[in-house]
Symmetry: C2
Subunit: 360 residues, 2 copies
């Protein structure tokens, strides 16, 4: 396995903020974008963290393919609905603002949906869903993304790994936070296997001829990811249906690109990514204390239910990520040496030296 060292969270976040500012992003927006990226690393979703700082965001800012100081435009607004144009801004900034307005509207009416077109890759979907938690709301965050999944009976990448994120508050227990790609695994997972020279489990991906492959490079070079569920016998068409659904809501409903037209981070054109956010105010349906008490009871009963032989724990979604966040805040965020080297180079481009010492 390649070597890694851990870096202190605040210093890494500060570097990320200064990096975005160096690339022309306003201070307040730089703080938002950095918080989303560092949150991914904190939660252990390192495929979506600072590893992508330059390749997904900085490189496109530099080339003028993302507008560092975009204006978000309202296309149509009603008490419970809002359609926005993200002005080709940084996905994190556009999504943060869109979800903030969605939550404000839901606070008035009990329920709101905000769609966004003309945006970019926004990092982890769960970040925006979780923004609803302190408001005692259920948050939903969807986005389309570059084509990577083959539909059932198909062999070409035509659908994104289009994630579904939903956050539901609990009382004393940790909140439920689902944040899942609608493929079996996201592209970042395949890349990690490739980087570390490992075979992927059979069933995750096909090669360019549509055959199952255990070689991660076969997927990356013209192959495709399989939808959650895998083959038709195991009901992979449900995962295909969920991936498509996310695109119908965040691409087609928003009036953004959809399907094969969603831009890849490496495309030399606007990505026109679409998002869909929803907020549900729990108090409109039942007293919040009753709701939270039922959430706690449900979580406890699931965790207490009988385990498979050899297993000693049943997890609730988001629980591992909360524990990793605590550990990383204490011990620092582990980064592969090659990721640090890329950050050093990114810093040079932005005029911001990466001078952070690893945790001893």
């Amino acid at each position: 396995m390649p070597e890694s060292k851990s870096y202190p969270v605040e210093a890494l976040k500060d570097f990320t903020i200064r990096y975005f500012k160096g690339m022309g992003v306003p201070e307040i927006d730089s703080r938002i974008a950095a918080d989303v990226l560092i949150s991914a690393d904190l939660r252990g979703i390192n495929s979506h963290g600072v590893i992508r700082l330059h390749s997904y965001y900085g490189d496109r800012l530099q080339k003028g393919l993302i507008d560092p100081a975009s204006t978000i435009r309202t296309l149509s607004e009603n008490p419970s609905t809002l359609a926005l144009d993200g002005g080709n801004g940084l996905g994190q900034v556009v999504a943060y603002r869109a979800m903030s307005r969605c939550i404000e509207k839901a606070d008035e009416t009990g329920l709101a949906v905000t769609t966004v077109r003309n945006s970019n890759h926004f990092g982890i979907a769960g970040y925006y869903a979780m923004m609803a938690l302190p408001e005692d709301m259920i948050g939903i965050s969807l986005t389309n993304s570059q084509p990577l999944i083959a539909p059932t009976y198909g062999m070409k990448r035509v659908l994104g790994t289009n994630p579904i994120a939903v956050a539901v508050p609990a009382g004393e227990e940790k909140p439920y936070v689902l944040d899942m790609a609608t493929s079996i695994v996201p592209l970042g997972r395949i890349s990690l296997y490739e980087k570390t020279g490992q075979s992927i489990p059979e069933g995750w991906a096909i090669n360019k001829n549509g055959e199952l492959t255990q070689n991660p490079s076969d997927m990356i070079n013209g192959g495709a990811l399989l939808p959650l569920g895998g083959p038709a016998l195991m009901r992979g068409y449900k995962g295909y249906g969920l991936s498509l659904l996310v695109d119908l809501l965040s691409g087609v409903l928003a009036g953004a690109a959809f399907g094969e037209d969603v831009g890849r981070p490496s495309n030399e054109r606007n990505a026109d990514v679409g998002h869909f956010f929803a907020s549900i105010k729990i108090e409109n349906f039942r007293p919040i204390e009753e709701f939270k008490s039922d959430m706690d009871a449900y979580i406890r009963s699931l965790k207490a239910s009988p385990k498979l032989p050899g297993q000693d724990r049943i997890f609730i979604h988001g629980e591992k990520e909360e524990e990793l966040t605590e550990a990383h805040l204490r011990d620092g965020i582990p980064l592969l040496n090659e990721v640090v080297e890329a950050l050093v180079m990114a810093g040079e481009i932005a005029g911001v030296p990466f001078d952070i010492k690893p945790v001893q």
Copy 2:
């Protein structure tokens, strides 16, 4: 394979209406319940059709476990939100009324959610999602159900097969209608394999010791279904997360039973099933003609994309069901002889003779 004959749709529906009336259900409600059941058979989801007429519904009406003439009570209402108590009525009737009100509200505000507690098994979730289609809305229908799925690393049935149904209108193409259990397969599928003496594919279910089994009886007698995705390596915890999500929205948010407390059709107590419905008015986000034109383009591009060797068609969700509906309207609905025998007996209980001749 057991023998089956086909029966004319209208006669079967008429019998179903008369059956419900015979069990004390008002005429208008009998028509609603019958339409939902027959729609399942029309769409080829015969596990959820008239096969369950007595066992899931009539038997419980007879025992006083479902109120044939329940009153639906509003618990709280706001312009975009509505919380209902179904009064332990027939699930189909309660759900139909709840979704109707959800659509009316969304017509005013662009968006609505209706939750329901104190209801019963409502048949196919897709029926209610599809009610939004003629209104140019996106319809969402969720329900919790009796515990059957083991969570990842667990071995006991603690979650229902809690379906997700979403209907999205298209223009010239057929609408997108996802209607999926969050297990790999629903219980009805396992029962069908048991009835016809077939082994189930490995990966669908575990026995009471938590071991994978290919014997359908092992699942039925104390085993459990596996969530979509299957084992953790194939990301079955995503299917587990979706099943839980459906219960958080339709059980906990609605204030209904949840998890292991959701009643089985065979339980001698109120089931307290919960539902969640949502309607989204497309016109609030973008002009409906643009939306439909993009839907058509998307569906056509998916269907035209390259096929796996040996495959000649890529399906959109709901497409097969639309084709089966056309075929069944023309040729009649195929029923196993033992299902017909059960309908004859059910008819005797309700004082309604089953005197329908099969199609020649």
